[in-house]
Symmetry: C2
Subunit: 347 residues, 2 copies
């Protein structure tokens, strides 16, 4: 039995991902040492931040591409897990991985056991996982939206955007999404229950956004940057709050401009006059302090039917590079996952 | 009897103020209409924001230069004030002014009566006025410093910096100032009770600041920008907070760079990783919500001897342009005021 692996073939050049950035390898299956367990990858999560790691050189050429995963323990030599257990881990872009003693984990994300009775396993890398916690940290903890306030969420049909917008709805806010294609906008309003959604692809985007926010914008959840953000600027109210989660529209820049700089260069005069608060968001800083609180609330909302969720699941590890590019260029729809091995709870 | 007036002679070019920006006029004294009062200016406050108003064209050429003042009512035709009352108002750079019906006030700053028994009159445009409220809004309301945290205050011997740093000390923080000349640094430590003060004029400024902040920086009160700020950057802790009050080092730029943009262009990569929060500060947004709370607390601190305060008082309205330039280039020392007419409470 082999372990199929995507490694990073090169530090990618500026622009968007291509197949040349990745190299497929068949490796021997590693045997777990005492204190470790071998896991089979069920779901691999694709997230925009991975592109930043690759482009910046944080991810070493030749290493297994990083990614959060849902896995099943197949051979345990550690007390914490039994064969068959489901775990959240960070196996990366490969079909098998190790957890336990001496296995590098991605900083703040320690493996944890998953109960498939509570929610579908895939949600552990989505709305019931780091992605949901990202939305919760940025929207609820940082921006503290009040009932009746207007909250705008960019990339509204994406993984983090879906979660953030629904939390704003639950908080009693007027929620306005920004998304691309019409079917995404329809989904955001009809399925997620946003009050409105405008398309950044429309020539009348700025006017549409203004019309959708008759009382201005109190909270902006930034996933996108660029034109989407520029439309928000003039609508910010006094004491408005922004959380900087990502700048996906700028990740493919080939002109050498840093994404964050592009973002900032347009906004600053407004921030001081309105006493706007801008929060940098890195979810790793909120795990210890807020993960338990978040998991409890989100599980409750899911049980009460207050939160729904759309995934786009690609079949098979070979699809990972293509799926990754689709997530970044917006041709995907919903939270992007790869089903690496069959999920035994779905039968 | 005449009213002596400094008017704006031109929209000043880039750089620092010069005498050519101002024109002296002797005007007839205005008579108060029914519902108005004539006031004699005692103190005129000089503040960095005035330069922004002049440079940006907000202040019209030919108009009386804007400024907050402490005045005494000399002829009242309004019920709220009697002859001899002391008031905070916004008479501007002139020796007499009107308050009351139909008299333009500067937005959020309405006249209020002053009691010279509580504190020296000059503090009404200083630590017991908008300047203290600026410090309070930025440091306490926005940044919420916790005991034991490290707070860095730039322009530490200036009006807002003095107030902010002492509030941080009262809050139980380690307080580190940044100032210019050695005598300013000594004052900040010995008189204001900061734990340390480093000079931005020193070649070892960045190292000095690092040494003064062994546990990193949790809160930064930004008055200055430029090199002062760059030293702060790499020392910011996770969940650090910044309040953007001003960028005085950049106000004289002649290269067309906007002050705020210069500030931002250096900082952003840190903000996201550390989940740093940046608050734009405009004190006008905090008057209704926090002025009463602030005045109560500050009066208490002054009575308890917890707060001290240094002013530089220039004698006579003719000195205003020179005093204004000195405040911007740092050759002043303390909160800058002009004594326009004698203060009858000081005898």
């Amino acid at each position: 039995m082999n372990n199929s692996v995507w490694t990073l073939a090169r530090t990618p050049p500026a622009g968007w991902p291509s197949e040349d950035d990745f190299a497929w390898q068949e490796r021997d299956l590693q045997q777990p040492a005492e204190g470790q367990a071998l896991t089979r990858t069920l779901y691999l999560s694709l997230d925009p931040y991975q592109w930043g790691r690759r482009r910046s050189g944080v991810e070493a050429v030749g290493s297994v591409c990083h990614g959060r995963t849902v896995s099943q323990v197949v051979e345990s030599r550690m007390a914490e897990y039994a064969d068959g257990d489901f775990v959240f881990n960070t196996a990366g872009w490969q079909s098998y991985g190790l957890i336990g003693e001496g296995v590098d984990v991605f900083g703040y994300m320690f493996p944890r056991r998953l109960d498939p009775e509570i929610a579908p396993l895939s949600t552990a890398v989505g709305i019931l996982g780091m992605l949901g916690l990202t939305a919760y940290s940025g929207l609820i903890v940082q921006c503290d939206p009040k009932p009746g306030e207007t909250v705008v969420v960019s990339a509204a049909s994406g993984g983090v955007g879906q979660a953030a917008g629904q939390m704003a709805r639950i908080a009693g806010c007027r929620v306005v999404g920004v998304a691309g294609r019409q079917e995404k906008c329809d989904f955001v309003v009809n399925e997620l229950g946003f009050d409105a959604c405008v398309s950044h692809l429309s020539e009348s985007y700025a006017d549409d956004l203004r019309a959708a926010c008759p009382d201005g914008i109190d909270v902006y959840f930034e996933n996108v940057g660029g034109k989407t953000y520029e439309g928000v600027l003039g609508l910010l109210n006094t004491h408005s709050r922004i959380t900087l989660c990502g700048f996906i529209s700028q990740y493919g820049n080939t002109d050498g401009k840093d994404a964050a700089k592009v973002w900032r260069a347009t906004g600053e005069p407004f921030f001081q006059r309105q006493s706007t608060t801008v929060h940098g968001l890195f979810v790793g800083n909120y795990v210890k302090s807020h993960q338990d609180e978040f998991l409890g609330k989100m599980a409750g909302w899911m049980v009460d039917g207050l939160v729904t969720y759309r995934e786009q699941i690609w079949e098979g590890l070979p699809s990972a590079p293509k799926a990754f590019a689709a997530m970044l260029d917006g041709s995907n729809f919903g939270k992007s996952l790869v089903r690496v091995n069959a999920d035994p709870t779905l039968t």
